[in-house]
């Protein structure tokens, strides 16, 4: 498979650079931050410090960073187990995410969730869901609450291409469109559901067209171009806030790594991976900033340095975090208001 480009994509690509240098610098740094964060995860996983399932979004950083530009603190976010990038882009401190993966009490889920279940209620980041498509109905409910309270905020629900095959996608899409819920549905189409390519998952591989059949606005966007993602997300979010009902964004992207750290990745053609790496979202923006924003090697080195310093500190802090005593195992099975059991 090679990246397809739609009219929409071409249009957005040929737009004049809206955002200024400072803004682009921010986008680039955030993508770099996520990339380097996950590279640390790989090291710590290999060292046995991080365990369980770990799903990397390396290659998909433009999705997290681009989409989150359109969100406000009042908005809510629901995502999948492949959510490190979304968590960081949402503003959850890197040390809290590292700590979570290290199983520390200082982790953003007190070490109970691990890589797949990052939460931060204060930032309205509601997971980190491990059951494919399981977060979609919950996101619809969060949006229903906004609707009933007539709040001008939205719920952004991110999920993969594979999730679209689940009944829960269908039920949620219908419910959202039927009730005009303020829901921004973002499909991270990385062309594979584990080892299964899109064409073996879906009879109709044009996922945006599929979503449109529920009577909602749906766009396919180049998920490797962070500026295109941001533009589409902002436009969609604006409409959703204004009461348009749900929008669907299909962000066409690719994961450069295996499905999870367990995955030997025997099912993808290496040439295909290489082709997609040519469209690395970080490289794409860097190159563009070189030509359009007078960006140069030293600027890159500077960014790398800042990111490295932050992550060094974050890892350090995370490792300081204490372990929840086993006696507290049953804590939070129920709310404090009533005892456990």
């Amino acid at each position: 498979m090679t990246p397809r480009t739609t009219a929409k994509e071409r249009r957005t690509r040929t737009r004049p650079p809206g955002p200024d240098t400072g803004h682009r610098l921010g986008l680039l740094k955030e993508m770099l931050r996520i990339r380097r964060f996950e590279e640390r995860c790989v090291e710590m996983y290999s060292a046995g410090e991080i365990r369980g399932f770990v799903h990397l979004c390396i290659g998909e950083e433009a999705v997290s960073v681009g989409v989150h530009q359109a969100l406000t603190p009042e908005d809510a976010v629901v995502t999948t187990y492949r959510e490190h990038g979304h968590a960081l882009a949402r503003g959850i401190p890197a040390e809290a995410v590292f700590a979570e993966m290290l199983g520390r009490m200082t982790g953003c889920s007190r070490g109970r969730g691990g890589s797949m279940h990052l939460f931060d209620a204060d930032r309205r980041f509601y997971g980190g869901h491990g059951i494919v498509a399981g977060g979609l109905p919950v996101a619809a409910g969060l949006a229903l609450a906004d609707l009933l309270r007539e709040r001008e905020q939205l719920v952004c629900c991110l999920f993969g291409d594979g999730a679209v095959a689940e009944g829960e996608f269908h039920e949620t899409a219908n419910l959202a469109a039927l009730w005009d819920l303020p829901l921004l549905l973002v499909c991270e189409n990385n062309l594979y559901a584990m080892g299964t390519p899109l064409a073996r998952e879906h009879a109709q591989v044009d996922l945006a067209a599929r979503a449109a059949s529920y009577g909602m606005v749906a766009w396919a966007v180049d998920g490797m171009d962070v500026l295109a993602v941001e533009r589409a997300a902002r436009r969609a979010a604006q409409a959703v806030r204004a009461g348009s009902g749900p929008y669907f964004l299909e962000l066409r992207t690719y994961r450069f790594r295996a499905h999870s750290m367990y995955d030997p990745d025997l099912y993808r053609d290496k040439a295909e991976i290489e082709r997609w790496k040519q469209r690395d979202p970080i490289t794409l923006l860097t190159e563009r900033m070189r030509t359009e924003n007078g960006f140069d090697d030293t600027s890159v080195e500077l960014l790398e340095k800042e990111v490295a310093e932050e992550l060094d500190r974050a890892v350090e802090q995370a490792r300081q975090g204490g372990l929840e005593p086993a006696e507290d195992l049953l804590r939070f099975v129920h709310s404090p208001a009533r005892g456990t059991s």
Binding site: H117, F119, Y126, I131, P137, V138, L178, R338, S341
Partner: protein
């Protein structure tokens, strides 16, 4: 089937008692809303919410499409956002389509998030057999829900509980599943003037007795009480315990009863193997082993998809005669 015979209050049906509880909740707290298939225009598949749409409007009495997983999940999300949804699943038979949402989300999010994401959701559903609705409409799956850590499971068997269990359920900060047995909706009796919210942490002794404990819940309570009357005829004084709360189980009341009577029969319409009756039996023998004069007896639904034909359905369900026979075996 009310516990108090006192006729001071007005006569109501179980259905009306549930409806009144819903109305009260909707009036008392604007965060409360009711959502489910046909709860609005139709008035509820079993007529429970009839009239509520006119009174509270379509935003709060919300008809949903046939999408159990989505609207139960939506209830979870709305609860997380601070509302107090009451989700009606028409019957337990369809709840399997939403079980993933209930088990993996509603019951799990609080713990998995390290205490950040509470889900104050109430789910109501009818349960049980007895109306010749055949295999796919006659399940009693309370045991599935009582198995799940993180949720509370209630089974109102009396008019008072139908009327007064909803308020405490709504004030529970965590998910509560309420089972209403289909055979109870038309039961009518007199409801005493408001006795206020009931204690949903305790089982109730519906009939005191000294010779044997009949332990049951929901739709089988009436059968147990009938059996107790028959047993009284041959001088076996049975105590009838209504579990009321299926999770967490009130061990003190159950064990306390067995400690006094030294014998027990557990009655559960659900399938026997790995069902609720197994847990009650196991707990009694764990906690009152040395007080038991005979093995605990179980009277359960036969292990069969409930058939349509009347004589077969009757044979598939616990009957008072079965309870009497089991009690006699236990008393020996």
């Amino acid at each position: 089937m009310t516990t108090r015979k006192a006729a001071t209050g007005k006569a109501v049906t179980y259905r009306e008692a549930v409806r009144e509880a819903l109305r009260e909740a909707l009036v008392a707290d604007e965060r409360v809303f009711l959502m489910g298939e046909d709860v609005g225009r139709y008035g509820g598949a079993l007529g429970v919410s009839l009239g509520l749409l006119d009174e509270f409007g379509p935003a709060r009495i919300r008809d949903t499409p046939l999408s159990e997983s989505a609207f139960v999940g939506a209830g979870i999300g709305a609860a997380i956002a601070g509302l107090r949804p009451i989700v009606e699943i028409m019957t337990v038979n369809f709840s399997l389509l939403a079980l993933d949402q209930i088990l993996n989300n509603a019951a799990t999010l609080l713990h998995m998030s390290g205490g950040q994401v509470a889900v104050p959701l109430v789910i109501r559903m009818s349960t049980g057999a007895g109306r010749q609705l055949a295999a796919q409409h006659s399940h009693s799956l309370e045991g599935y829900y009582a198995h799940i850590p993180g949720i509370r499971v209630l089974a109102p068997a009396t008019l008072e509980d139908a009327r007064y269990m909803l308020a405490p359920a709504l004030s529970d900060p965590d998910p509560v599943v309420i089972f209403e047995h289909g055979s109870l909706y038309n039961v009518s009796g007199t409801l005493p003037p408001d006795t206020g919210p009931v204690d949903i942490d305790r089982a109730a002794v519906r009939r005191p007795g000294t010779d044997i404990s009949l332990i049951t819940h929901g739709g089988s309570l009436g059968k147990a009480l009938q059996a107790a009357e028959q047993l009284a005829a041959d001088h076996i004084d049975a105590e009838v315990v209504d579990l009321r709360t299926l999770r967490p189980l009130d061990d003190a009341t159950v064990t306390g009863s067995v400690r006094r009577t030294h014998r027990a029969v557990v009655i559960d319409e659900g399938w026997r193997t790995c069902g609720l009756s197994a847990e009650i039996t196991a707990r009694i023998t764990e906690q009152a082993f040395y007080d038991l004069d005979a093995p605990v007896e179980r009277v359960c639904g036969a292990e069969v998809p409930v058939p349509y034909a009347r004589q077969l359905e009757e044979a598939a369900l616990p009957q008072p005669a079965d309870i009497v026979a089991a009690a006699r075996r236990a008393v020996g």
